[in-house]
Every structure is written in structure tokens, then in C-alpha cells.
């Protein structure tokens, strides 16, 4: 009886102590001062429209839900998220950003697409300075993508993705290999899997034409080997000796039978499905795909889900593509100041941390270095963010010039041609691609 009373008293004490702590936490996220918001609600009743794709994806849905519940409560500003499919988002972004009468105030944009709408975005340098936003909390690749390598901040990093190697630990263990650190290791492990006679494709690559996804891993090969898209004079440089060697390595997975023949037509999602459904042992793709593997319906996939940094080049670099979604405010918005308030809240580390710890919308996507290094966040995501942070330290972005969106499809077609035609000469096709690229650059006046 005494014991029961003691336990009850201890529980009551614990509850008593927990209440103020919980209350303080709740108060923090509902306190405008936490986010540097104006507590006097000067924009009360303002309705903002946010142009974004895929708002039902967990990484976006969490922010949208919290905005509805908390940001609106603190400021009186309501934000309506657009929900366009990714495939048609780029077109809509350009049309809305260049439309003087657009109804949208805030836009999300992918690094390469941003270059075409910089002139229509409100510079955020003042916001960063006045709101005390720690710019150094973003990695170099994300800073580049948000500024177009200039001094003007066009968008704040919002969602970002490093490339990781997702693999089956049991398969690699069966062939006695460690996770690959280089692309050459990927080839060696793939050959070992083939030699072992296991009924599984060693790697799942994606060489198909689909929103230019077949370039993601090509960049890693190219940069890792020491080549680049352009030289310092904006001349195409991917077709030099190093570029040819890097491209040959990139194609070797399908040409050597290490990636299924069908991968010449696959997009990133289809290749990832091969891994998730247990038909492939390795896949290099965005980090957010890690949860797909660990939640796979195939027990042996879920039980052996593992990830590691994207491979680098043997004797070279481990540079890979850091892909960024930034969020900016349209210059023509009638409610620009209210929109800037929203950006403060949306990109604040407290908001970002809560999104990444959200149990309702499980997702691992964070962009701030402080969140990527956060112990609790890493514990929640099995150390995924720490690995991503290591990848991001060496990540870079693509050439941030408006003409690059015109060039990218040529490069994607070039890679697709090399993948679908096993007999195609790499040098010849790259040279042809370089001519196309040069034509675009020349027309834009880069060689005048």
C-alpha cells in the first residue's frame, strides 16, 4: 500500500514537473518572438498563395500543416499551397513568375530553374540581415544555388537533397564486400554479385529521359574524375579525355550487364523500385529514398536496408550534385512583406527541426547544417542526416546560368543515346553534344 502511494506521488511529481516543460515547448513554437515575427499582427487577414509542387509529399505536407495550425495563429496570415505535379511545375513556375498579374506571392524553385526567374524575385539579403538568419548554416552547394553564385540571395534553402548509395547489406555481405567508396568499387562489387550467381541485379541505374534525371549520377562521375560541364571560358569541357573516361565508367553499368538492360528507359523512381522490391542490390539516388527501402513490403529488403555516401572517383573526388529547392518571394506580389514573414517562419531552424522530427509526416529532409548535425534528429533517422552532411560537404551545384535549362535536355539526350546504343562511340556522341551546347552558348553571346 505504501509502495503504491509512493509510486502515485512520484508520478504526480513527474507530471507536475513535466507540465511547465511541455508548456514552455508549446509556447516556444507559438511565440512570434521565436521566429522574429511581428507580434502585433500587422498583416492580419492577409492571404498568401504559395506556388509549389507535390505538397502532399511528406517533406512538404508537414510544413503546410504546421503553417495552417501555427503560423496563421501567430500572424493572422493564411497561406494557401498550390499542388502541381512535378512534371508540369517548371512550366507553371515560369508562367507565373513572368506574369505581372500573377496571383502567387511565394514560389519554390529548383536550383537550375531559378536562373530563369531571378529578375522576378525579390532579393532577400535584407531579410537575411534583419531577421538574423544564419547564412553560414547552409552548405556551399545550397548557398550557390540560392544566389546563382552572385551576392544577391534570391531564395532561402527550403528542401535539399544529397545523393546517397542505398544498398542491401545482406547481398554485399554475401559476396564479402564492404559498401563501395568509389564508382570503380561499384563495378567490382557488381561483378562479384554476378559471379556469385545470386538472382539479383547488382545495380539499378536510370538512363531514361525523364526530367533529365539521367544526369544526376553523370555529374558525380564527371566531377569526381576532375572534368566539368564548362571550362573557365564557358566552352564545353565534358568531352575531353577525362570526361570521356568518366562517361564510359557511367555507362559501364548497363554495358557490362551490371544494371538491367531496361535501365536505359528507367527514370529515378523506376530504378528505385527495383531496389525497394528486392530486384537490385545497389542504387544511387536522393537521400529521402532511404525510408522507402526501410519500409519496403519485402522483408529481406527492409531488414537489410542500408545507406552510405554516394561513391566518388578512384584517386579523385567524391563531389556529387546537391539538389536544392529554394523558396523566394515574387517582386510583383502585393503582399510582399507578409510573404517575407512567412519565409522567416518556414525556414527557421525551429520549424525545420520539428518537421524532420514529425511523427505524422515522417521525412528526413533538412537543409541546415545545424539540423543535419543534431543528435536527436540523427537518432530518430538512424544517422541518415550525418551521412548526408558528409556528402554535402563535397557537394556542388550545376552551372547557374539561364541557358543551362536549354542545355540540360541536350545533355540528357546525349546520355540516353549512349545508353540505348551499346555500339555508340562515347567520344563521338559527347563531341556532338558539345557542339549543341556551344551553339546555345554562342547564340546567348558567351563567345562575343
Amino acid at each position: 500500500m505504501r509502495l503504491t502511494r509512493t509510486i502515485l506521488m512520484l508520478l504526480a511529481l513527474a507530471l507536475f514537473l513535466a507540465l511547465p516543460v511541455g508548456g514552455a515547448l508549446a509556447q516556444d513554437v507559438m511565440d512570434p518572438a521565436t521566429f522574429g515575427l511581428d507580434a502585433s499582427k500587422p498583416y492580419d487577414g492577409t492571404q498568401l498563395k504559395f506556388l509549389i509542387c507535390c505538397s502532399t509529399a511528406a517533406q512538404f505536407a508537414s510544413a503546410a500543416a504546421k503553417g495552417d495550425a501555427e503560423f496563421t495563429e501567430m500572424t493572422g496570415i493564411s497561406v494557401s499551397w498550390g499542388d502541381l505535379p512535378f512534371g508540369s511545375f517548371q512550366e507553371q513556375l515560369y508562367l507565373e513568375a513572368t506574369n505581372p498579374n500573377t496571383e502567387f506571392d511565394i514560389v519554390a524553385f529548383v536550383d537550375a530553374w531559378g536562373t530563369n526567374i531571378y529578375d522576378f524575385l525579390h532579393p532577400l539579403n535584407d531579410l537575411v540581415a534583419d531577421a538574423g538568419i544564419d547564412w553560414d548554416d547552409y552548405g556551399p552547394a545550397y548557398q550557390q544555388a540560392s544566389t546563382g553564385n552572385s551576392d544577391t540571395i534570391y531564395g532561402l534553402p527550403f528542401r535539399g537533397h544529397p545523393l546517397l548509395l542505398h544498398y542491401r547489406a545482406d547481398v554485399l555481405e554475401a559476396v564479402g564486400m564492404e559498401p563501395p567508396q568509389t564508382w570503380q568499387d561499384v563495378s567490382a562489387i557488381s561483378q562479384a554479385i554476378v559471379d556469385s550467381g545470386m538472382d539479383i541485379a547488382p545495380t539499378a541505374m536510370y538512363y531514361g529521359l525523364n526530367v533529365d534525371q539521367n544526369l544526376f549520377n553523370w555529374y558525380s562521375h564527371l566531377w569526381g574524375a576532375g572534368a566539368d560541364i564548362f571550362d573557365e571560358n564557358w566552352e564545353p569541357a565534358f568531352n575531353n579525355e577525362i570526361g570521356v573516361a568518366a562517361t564510359e565508367q557511367y555507362l559501364s553499368y548497363v554495358r557490362d550487364g551490371h544494371s538491367p538492360a531496361a535501365s536505359v528507359a528507367w527514370n529515378e523512381q523506376e530504378a528505385n523500385q527495383e531496389l525497394v522490391q528486392g530486384r537490385a542490390a545497389m542504387f544511387v539516388g536522393w537521400w529521402w529514398m532511404a525510408s522507402r527501402m526501410s519500409t519496403s513490403d519485402v522483408a529481406e529488403v527492409a531488414d537489410n536496408a542500408a545507406f552510405a555516401p554516394a561513391p566518388g572517383w578512384e584517386g579523385g573526388d567524391t563531389t556529387s550534385y546537391g539538389y536544392l529547392w529554394a523558396v523566394g518571394v515574387l517582386d510583383q506580389s502585393d503582399d510582399r512583406d507578409a510573404a517575407l514573414e512567412y519565409l522567416k517562419w518556414l525556414t527557421h531552424p525551429v520549424t525545420e527541426r520539428r518537421i524532420v522530427l514529425d511523427e505524422e509526416f515522417v521525412n528526413n529532409v533538412a537543409v541546415r547544417l545545424s539540423i543535419l548535425a543534431d543528435a536527436e534528429v540523427n537518432e530518430y533517422h538512424n544517422g541518415l542526416l550525418e551521412v548526408a552532411s558528409a556528402v554535402l560537404a563535397n557537394a556542388r551545384t550545376i552551372p547557374l546560368i539561364p541557358e543551362y535549362t536549354e542545355i540540360v535536355p541536350y545533355l540528357a539526350e546525349m546520355i540516353n543515346e549512349l545508353a540505348t546504343d551499346a555500339g555508340a562511340d562515347v567520344r563521338e556522341v559527347l563531341d556532338r553534344g558539345a557542339e549543341d551546347v556551344r551553339f546555345v552558348m554562342e547564340a546567348a553571346g558567351y563567345y562575343d
Binding site: 512550366e91 530563369n116 531514361g208 538492360a261 527514370n267 536549354e406 539526350e413 540516353n416
Partner: protein, 323 residues
């Protein structure tokens, strides 16, 4: 009684206004843009300027450059070729398969009636969804079409070929069971045409069912009395009588095939390489995705408009001639 001449105008006014705003104005605007250097990235300079001094025209800003550029652009030429072959394949397959279905389901009976009702469903599926579905169904690992083609076509054919190869004659290579349908230039275009046929053939079949029903039964009876068999009746009686409908259907389908866009986006992405980049897809890429070059995209659109106008004129002439 005095005629109120304004009444018809009032009655058709709203419809006319909608047509002017949604069709005539965009058509004229696109024509105007097609003579300009108009890129969404830059502030455009248009020839017609409205200022305080009234309207002025700067003729130096107008040029045919976008049109001449199109015919020296190898990718535009490629898109013309792709569109041509896609049209030939999709129109040919749709009409032939549609006619085949019509002949099968034209008879009475509840099963035939039910089939006719069900035939409308493939046409009702949105083209974009059609593209996604076909991409999924052609997947080499879990695609139902891939499985059906392998099971019902490739394996039986290979079994026959193996029997033939057992004879001491020439050896014919077996057909691969692992064709990457969307990774091969010919097959990707063929499957794109098939996805279009899947939607259109049933609708065309319904048109043919109607036409077949209007043919006097006595004509067939006379042919049978004259000793014609079923094949002879089909080729010598039915087909000639269906000729006007076949022409109209062919022309209508040609117009739609020339505008192919949605399935290219969702099914092939224009690939492999450029094998399925149709004109509409290329125009969209240049205007809204790659270059944001509205002037050039408008010029290419007008080239397509000219082709479509010729087809539409032929179609109208055929319909009027029939009536």
C-alpha cells in the same frame, strides 16, 4: 412585320465572345509573336507600340527569322519526321483495328450491345493517364503487356522457329524476350502509336458499326446469291461502301495524331534520344521548358497550324461531299 436584325447577333454574341477570347485572340497573338524575338527571360520589344502620340509600328522588329530557323533546326525536322511516322502508324492501326472490331460486334444480341457500350471506355481515359498506364504495363519486370507479348507472341513464335531451325535449312535467329520497349527507337514509337490506337480504335469501331448498320441488307443478300463468300463480300461489297466513312475517320484521326502531346510527356519523355519527340512536344519544350522562346515556339506552332488547316479543309470537304 419588320425583321429585328440584331436578334441573331444578340443570341450568338456570348458564344462569339468566348470564341474570340479563347481562340481568335490567342491565334492572332501567336501569329504576331512568331515574327518577333520574344523570350520570356527578357523584356520583349514589340513592333506595335502604343504611346502618347498614338499607335506606331517599328517594322525593324518584325522578321521571318523564327520561320527560317525552324527549317534549319535539325530537331524540328526530326519532330516533323517523328510526327509523320507516328501519324501513319496510329491512323493505320486505329482504322484497321477499329474496322476489325466493328465487323465482330456489329451483329445484334445483348453481348454485342454490352461490348459496344464498353468500347467507349478506352476513349474516355485521359491521354496523360493512358501514357502513365502504358509505361507501367510495358515495364519489363512487372508489366502486364510485356508479359502478354512474351507469353502469347514471342514464346509461341520462338517455339515455331525452333522447330524450323531443327531442319537442316537456314537458321533463323530467335526473337528476344527481353526487348526494352521504351528503350528502343522503333518499339518506343510503335508502342506510343499503340497506346493511341488503344484509345481510338474502339471509338472508330463504333463509327463503323453505325455505318455498317446503314448498309442495306439486300446488297449483301444479292452478293451471296451471286456466289460471293464472306471474304469476297467484305472486300468487294462492305469496304467500297464504307469508303466515305473510312476517309472521314482517317482524316479526323490524322488531325488528332498530328497534335500528339500528352502521352509523349507521360510515357516516353520524347525518348529514347529523340525518337518520340513530336512537333507539339518540341514546341512545348522550346516555348515553356527549355528556351522560353515564345517567338520561336509560336512560329513552329504556325507551321503545324498550316498542316492542320490543310487536313481540316480536306476533312470538311469530305464531310460536305458525303452529305
Amino acid at each position: 412585320m419588320r425583321k429585328k436584325r440584331w436578334v441573331p447577333w444578340v443570341l450568338i454574341g456570348p458564344a462569339l465572345l468566348v470564341i474570340v477570347l479563347t481562340t481568335i485572340y490567342p491565334l492572332l497573338a501567336a501569329l504576331y509573336y512568331s515574327f518577333h524575338k520574344y523570350n520570356l527571360r527578357r523584356t520583349p520589344q514589340f513592333a506595335i507600340q502604343i504611346g502618347e502620340g498614338g499607335i506606331s509600328i517599328d517594322w525593324s522588329l518584325l522578321s521571318l527569322e523564327n520561320y527560317t530557323r525552324a527549317f534549319s533546326d535539325s530537331r524540328f525536322i526530326n519532330s516533323l519526321e517523328v510526327t509523320f511516322w507516328f501519324t501513319v502508324l496510329s491512323v493505320g492501326l486505329s482504322v484497321v483495328i477499329g474496322l476489325f472490331i466493328a465487323v465482330i460486334v456489329q451483329k445484334g444480341g445483348w453481348l454485342h450491345t454490352l461490348t459496344k457500350v464498353l468500347l467507349i471506355f478506352p476513349f474516355a481515359v485521359s491521354p496523360a493517364l493512358k501514357g502513365y498506364s502504358w509505361r507501367f504495363m510495358l515495364n519489363e519486370n512487372y508489366g502486364v503487356y510485356d508479359l502478354l507479348i512474351d507469353s502469347l507472341l514471342v514464346r509461341p513464335l520462338n517455339a515455331l522457329l525452333s522447330l524450323f531451325n531443327a531442319l537442316p535449312l537456314v537458321e533463323i535467329p530467335l526473337i528476344s524476350e527481353s526487348i526494352v520497349w521504351l528503350g528502343d527507337k522503333f518499339w518506343a514509337l510503335f508502342m506510343l502509336a499503340m497506346s493511341e490506337t488503344w484509345g481510338w480504335a474502339p471509338l472508330i469501331a463504333l463509327m463503323f458499326v453505325g455505318a455498317l448498320g446503314s448498309i442495306d441488307e439486300q446488297i449483301f443478300e444479292a452478293a451471296r446469291i451471286d456466289g460471293a463468300n464472306r471474304v469476297q463480300i467484305f472486300f468487294r461489297v462492305t469496304l467500297p461502301l464504307l469508303r466515305p466513312v473510312i476517309l472521314i475517320v482517317t482524316m479526323l484521326k490524322t488531325i488528332f495524331s498530328l497534335k500528339m502531346f500528352d502521352q509523349v510527356v507521360t510515357m516516353t519523355g520524347g525518348g529514347p534520344v529523340r525518337a518520340t519527340q513530336t512537333i507539339n512536344y518540341y514546341i512545348h519544350q522550346m516555348g515553356f521548358v527549355r528556351s522560353l522562346d515564345i517567338g520561336y515556339a509560336s512560329a513552329m506552332s504556325y507551321i503545324l497550324v498550316i498542316v492542320l488547316t490543310i487536313c481540316a479543309a480536306l476533312y470538311v470537304a469530305l464531310v460536305l461531299n458525303r452529305d
